[in-house]
């Protein structure tokens, strides 16, 4: 079974802090993704990565950066956390166009981040 894990289920940070959210997958997937989920706005893509050290902006990249130094790990970085970044953050991974379900994404359990 595909397993995607996230470093924290709940996180509370102060405005202005630098925040790291970590995601690890164990299925040798090429693609990894970061989404945020907000009431009334649904799930939106922040960034994704299709290979080590490669990244692409999603729909809402402002205020975020990412790092992918190893294939299995994808980090989301909030350089200076703000209250409008309080949200549920979900990480996902997928293969790149192979197999019987070539683009199927698998999600981690999520991190509920509160910025005060």
């Amino acid at each position: 079974d595909v397993k995607v894990t996230q470093s924290s289920r709940y996180l509370v940070k102060r405005t202005g802090e630098k925040v790291f959210l970590e995601c690890v997958q164990d299925m040798d997937h090429e693609n990894m993704f970061w989404y945020r989920q907000d009431p009334g706005l649904g799930l939106r893509l922040i960034y994704f990565s299709y290979d080590v050290k490669m990244k692409e902006k999603g729909d809402i990249p402002e205020g975020y950066s990412v790092s992918r130094e190893k294939k299995e790990r994808f980090s989301l970085i909030l350089e200076s956390a703000s209250t409008n970044q309080t949200s549920m953050y979900l990480c996902a991974s997928s293969l790149y166009g192979q197999g019987i379900s070539p683009y199927e994404q698998y999600f981690g359990p999520g991190t509920r981040l509160t910025v005060t």
């Binding site: 693609n31 994704f48 683009y103 698998y106 999600f107 359990p109 999520g110």
Partner: protein, 109 residues
């Protein structure tokens, strides 16, 4: 980008009832997934179904790609089926999902 609309937004069912959830999308897709979000926020994969029909226990799904819609059927609903169901699609590249607004299902005992 692709637009995704789900209906109905809310659904209240009596345990044992059957229901159909609908997902309309605005362009051709290479990826269509149905998810169930549990009360703890985890997205559980139900189906990967860019076309055709699949069944898994009491759940089944059909995607008619030429008409740009997908249906999720829940039969003999149970209280554990409660939660939010999301449809998500991706276009030609296949790897950037756009999510619908979800259908919130409540199954009453």
């Amino acid at each position: 980008g692709i637009q995704v609309e789900q209906s109905p937004p809310d659904l209240i069912l009596q345990e044992g009832a059957n229901s159909t959830l609908r997902c309309n999308f605005s362009d051709s897709v290479n990826n269509l997934q149905w998810f169930h979000q549990n009360p703890w926020g985890q997205l559980i994969n139900l189906f990967y179904i860019p076309s055709g029909t699949k069944q898994n226990g009491r759940l089944s799904a059909t995607t008619v790609a030429t008409e740009r819609y997908s249906l999720l059927y829940i039969s003999s609903s149970q209280t554990t089926d409660s939660g939010v169901y999301f449809c998500a699609v991706a276009g030609a590249a296949g790897n950037k999902l756009t999510f619908g607004g979800g259908t919130r299902v409540l199954v009453k005992p």
